[in-house]
Symmetry: C2
Subunit: 207 residues, 2 copies
């Protein structure tokens, strides 16, 4: 018997990657994880959900990294398992992702899941992006923002996700070679992109 | 009536991108361009095929670029339209690619075609890559090389293609956001990857 199929989805803010992931999971009849992982990770690590939610992607490049090298084992300021807090969170999330992958088929959005499961068989790593105009339009519509606010939210998110990914994986976020398939969701639209990914998953499942 | 459909394919050496491009063109019943473009460009620019073939991707990062800034209009060493030779070749190739795109549907492999046609409608920009093991295996098989030679050829090609692309486009080669779809050809294999791209092209054609 195959081990469970895992589809990881990295995505640009406003690309529809989360919606695509949800629809793919639903069509395949498998589980879907996104923010839920934060909650599971929180339970494991004993940190409050709110704290993790507000800290887990606020990695400023350099700062925390330097601190982690020099102060990881000094306790005090960092505490929690003698690791910097952001490291603790990442390790908990990674453990949750591995636990899911051992148990059942699932779509997992974000959280460097592609990297965490990079040696795993029966895993399809997906990255969803879209041209800036399409992302702005989507964010304006979904969150009732004006254009300037949407642009700002996108710039902030790109920077945070890129920093977070690089910090924990030492790889460049959105580099094609790190994924099995990268798609501009604006090419075919959300629905047809979902269809393509479902077909792809079914090909992989059959083999 | 639609303007012709153009599929551009950037590809890593040993990923099967060229073979995939040829098969996609054949299945769609459209033209295929790769080295042919060099010949057409050569005819236009008056440079010999051999000369272009041996020079067009030998862009050493920095060197030619610096020379082009300082010496582009000094004639002599560079001559040919008062542009550095590599610039002349690129400009000729770009013109050929635009001419093709105006006239007929085609698959165009390499030559920064995605960038040259980046503002064009009815264009699908594809990037094909594969894990290093799959690329080595393919190169060894196709060119009867041993593993060390295959690895060396791949490293040289990656560097040359990356430099060439960056030099003319100021964009990073293999960055997902520069393409509509990027695929690891080892995921499904050449045949199923061709199928997926043909389906994608047919969806685009219908719309």
């Amino acid at each position: 018997m195959h081990q469970p199929l895992i589809i990881t989805i990295g995505r640009e803010y406003g690309s529809g990657g989360r919606e695509i992931g949800q629809a793919v999971a639903k069509k395949l009849g498998i589980s879907f994880y996104d923010k839920e992982i934060i909650n599971l990770a929180a339970e494991k690590s004993g940190l409050s959900h709110e704290f993790i939610a507000s800290n887990e992607q606020r990695v400023k490049s350099g700062l925390v990294h330097n601190l982690s090298a020099s102060a990881a084992y000094s306790g005090g300021f960092f505490s929690h398992h003698y690791l910097p807090l952001s490291e603790s969170i990442f390790i908990s999330q990674a453990q949750v992702i591995r636990d899911i992958a051992n148990k059942k088929s699932a779509v997992i959005v974000g959280r460097c899941a592609d990297y965490i499961l990079s040696e795993r068989k029966n895993t399809i790593n997906v990255f969803i992006h879209a041209p800036i105009e399409a992302r702005v339009e989507r964010i304006m519509r979904l969150y009732h923002l004006d254009e300037a606010a949407a642009l700002k939210a996108i710039a902030t998110s790109d920077k945070e996700r890129g920093n977070h990914y690089f910090r924990y994986t030492d790889r460049k976020w959105g580099k094609a070679q790190n994924y099995d398939i990268c798609i501009n969701s604006a090419l075919m639209g959300v629905e047809k992109t979902v269809e393509m990914l479902v077909n792809l998953a079914q090909i992989e499942e059959r083999e």
